[in-house]
Symmetry: C2
Subunit: 520 residues, 2 copies
């Protein structure tokens, strides 16, 4: 648990106050242990302004499950809550409720199904389904959304950066401008979504991968202050790290000083039996400078050393740099494909903060409650039809077409066979008049998306390693239409309801809007 | 320390890998304990796109100092680093360096000056000045920037939201869409910058303020599923919290159902000797609905209960809502000033993520190193003139004019008297030809901005309580020109260098660009 000034801020009280006041109300009514189901899903892809995501990469599950395993109301939490008072000085939480929380205030009775990490996911499809006693399932809302929203947001951005970079390595560098300790979850999500490595040492350790980095401008400055200049800095670095020598060449002047000095040191390294790793460019016109650097490195006999570029990169900046290299490089006698094939992208701020759209709109909605042995669908009838959640217990499938490409994610009622008819009618989740009919023969595969993760608090799912999560991502992306993967103006992927679920939704909305529901 | 999957991610390894490889190089050269000075400052105000900040609110110092007090290289960290290998399988970190880190790898020798939290701050003025042994001061870069950048970013956004809301209460609600554990720092920063309360229970506890909240739509849904409807939910809530009764009225239909049901329950409460607190609107046209709700509440004899509005609020949304109320309310017989005076703003996602500009561009630059008993200024001569840091040991003052309004933040050389002449020449920090001359008589006050916080690791500053930090913020805002506080297209506040510092900078740049510096 975090110590000092932050003590207790990452435990069970990492939640919204109203979750606790509502839990007490459920306790008072005797329904706090009544089984309830909440669905977690997002409503729209991130929209970065000039560009928009056409898919998301699911992430965050493992750390959530880990947090749920240890978070519980401890004596100090109960004592704190017992001292809280309302407007008139009366205690907010009564002893009987606090006693119950002290004994039952953990996630040991929660069951959880989820779409695995690394998978491509879409709006309105439940990513996580929580079933359990109403009070604790309610309290879970805030920490669950907090952890899953952010990691999915960052994994999605990382996937876009990776796609823009045409598979060349992406290094996640964002720690210094990341949101405080959220940086750790962000680095992990970036590694799931498309970053190959991170500079974040602690997260690299926790995931069992090497941390990566070069050196800072300050190293060169120190040597300049000592009168040994940039060349002195490069030599000292090469001597200490002869087989991992990656030099930052833009402290003084990239073309006039940095690259020539790096080449000199690389030649010395080679004479001593070592091969240099590369150079890093961190300012200026990165396309132009990488061409100039490549030209000089090629001429000097280093056609294969890496060129790491960084400074305000995101998917559009990388796309622009690649385009410019393709256009300009030939003029300088540099083969563009060869140059692009030696690039590595250092991506910081814009990845770790998802610059342009800094939050995913994931929600956690009560959809069913168990009464007298039966699951009763419940829903919110708000003004905006698009915001009405799909009621009840559901299943989700991904339909693949004859090209083995994903063609729709389909939400149906539990136990339903989505291919029971020759003609499959798929409803738009909110628009009454919009639907699509598929022939059963057009569908090559129907894949259930969710797995069982927690059964009454017990982990019944083998949490995959980072490599397996990344392989899952690549496999899903391979089966996604290129139009959906497009960086700008992507095709809208189909998310649909079965006829059975559509009918249930229409019926529930009508019932909820009837006068009886709004009064006594 | 964070447990489970995240173990070790919030300790000393919460840093970039290259800080450690550079530290080893300094160790190898024997300069790892040479005193060095790093300045932390940001280069530009957040720019949210359609609107821009004209000032920032400084935040994050207390939690940074707290983290520095406990973060150190522990045995498990040293063991981990000792096992890391480079490209060829050779160990990255040698035993002698790791031994030194094990013994000296804390921030006990670091001295730190800073501008206090809550103060209005501007670009290019050092917010934090770190002096100490080169190696540990270098390692501090990443966690310092991580913690200070994010809190200052969010405190700044909170101040804007607060200004837009004309001083009416702001509740910070962003936890569920905040960046993982960064949410805690974000809530704290929001409370410093302009939020009155947060829904985040853990942070409220750590700061000694009450957490706030109402109830969720799910509460009403539960009662609907039980056949007791919205009115049943409101009654149950009012019964349990008779003196803290704040009802969410938009689950079914705000005007047709929610407000009439709330009024019925408020009347029942009053008959039982309690006064209701208010209602919350969380969807739809918040200006229109708040007018409709106010009209009905007024007619029913509740002209003073709060109307809490929430849903995608930020400073511009609040500004728009207030403008619309001023225009529309009279048509419905509602006094706009009275209505605005009973509003409370629930602000979530857009505050905690600083939507529009999700990172502050704070940097940490080596500016001086002590050699042979003398501080030698050092600097980075990059292509962009604006990025050249101001060299050496400096002091910062805020100049106030005869209206007692802040007119410039001035950076000078340590020990300099900025008012030594009758005419004070202030240089633009980067533009050669741009300067401003003030008569000494125009200046009513010269205020040093930095305080000493750590003297070789020892806390020599009394960290102020939240209330004092907020009072500091309000005092600074009161003395800031309204043009600088403007939400859109703010005046550019003057940040200037004294003649002495300007001359030193020009001289240092010339020296660094001389051939001797770039080679041997």
């Amino acid at each position: 648990m975090t110590a000092g000034k932050r003590a207790g801020t990452d435990g069970i009280l990492f939640t919204d106050h109203y979750q606790l006041t509502m839990a007490q109300l459920y306790f008072r009514l005797g329904i706090h242990e009544q089984p309830a189901q909440f669905d977690h899903f997002f409503r729209s892809y991130p929209d970065y302004g000039r560009h928009q995501a056409g898919y998301c990469i699911n992430a965050g599950l493992e750390w959530l499950v880990d947090w749920m395993d240890t978070a519980r109301f401890r004596d100090e939490d109960i004592a704190y809550l017992g001292n809280l008072t309302g407007t008139t000085g009366r205690r907010v939480f009564a002893d009987d409720f606090l006693d119950w929380l002290g004994t039952n205030g953990s996630f040991e009775a929660i069951s959880l199904e989820a779409i695995p990490e690394g998978r491509v996911v879409h709006p309105n499809i439940p990513l996580t389904v929580v079933r359990g006693p109403l009070a604790m399932a309610q309290i879970l809302e805030t920490p669950l959304l907090n952890q899953l929203n952010y990691q999915t947001l960052i994994a999605t951005k990382a996937s876009r950066v990776n796609e823009a970079g045409r598979g060349r390595p992406v290094l996640e560098y964002g720690l210094r401008r990341a949101p405080d300790l959220g940086a750790n979850a962000g680095s992990r999500a970036a590694l799931i979504g498309g970053a190959d490595f991170t500079s974040n040492v602690g997260v690299s350790r926790s995931l069992g991968i090497p941390a990566k980095g070069t050196h800072a401008h300050s190293l060169v400055q120190v040597f300049m202050a000592r009168g040994e200049g940039e060349l002195g800095a490069f030599r000292a670095y090469a001597e200490l790290y002869p087989d991992d020598c990656l030099l930052l060449v833009d402290t003084i002047d990239t073309v006039e000083s940095g690259v020539p000095n790096a080449i000199r040191v690389f030649e010395e390294l080679r004479r001593n039996g070592h091969e240099p790793v590369g150079i890093r460019l961190d300012s200026g016109d990165l396309a132009y400078l990488s061409i100039q650097a490549a030209q000089r490195l090629n001429e000097a006999g280093f056609p294969d050393v890496s060129i790491v570029i960084s400074s305000n990169l995101d998917e559009l900046a990388i796309w622009q740099i690649i385009s410019q290299i393709e256009e300009e490089a030939p003029r300088y006698g540099v083969d563009p494909a060869r140059l692009i094939g030696r690039l590595t992208y250092g991506v910081g701020t814009r990845l770790i903060t998802s610059q342009g759209d800094s939050a995913l709109d994931g929600v956690y909605k009560l959809v069913a409650i168990r009464q007298s042995g039966m699951w009763v669908p419940v829903l919110k009838v708000s003004e905006a039809r698009a915001k009405i959640p799909n009621p009840g217990k559901k299943e989700t499938w991904r339909f693949y077409d004859q090209r083995r490409t994903a063609t729709a994610d389909v939400l149906g009622v539990e136990g339903e066979n989505p291919l029971s008819d020759d003609q499959v009618l798929l409803h738009h989740p909110t628009e009454h008049t919009s639907h699509r009919t598929l022939n059963r023969t057009e569908i090559s595969e129907v894949e259930p998306l969710a797995v069982e993760v927690l059964r009454e608090g017990e982990l019944v799912y083998e949490l995959p390693e980072l490599d397996a999560i990344r392989a899952r991502r690549r496999a899903d992306l391979d089966r996604l239409d290129p139009g959906v993967r497009r960086l700008i103006n992507p095709h809208v992927y189909h998310v649909s309801l079965t006829q059975t679920l559509w009918d249930l939704k229409v019926d529930s909305v009508e019932k909820a809007r009837s006068p009886r529901s709004s009064g006594d």
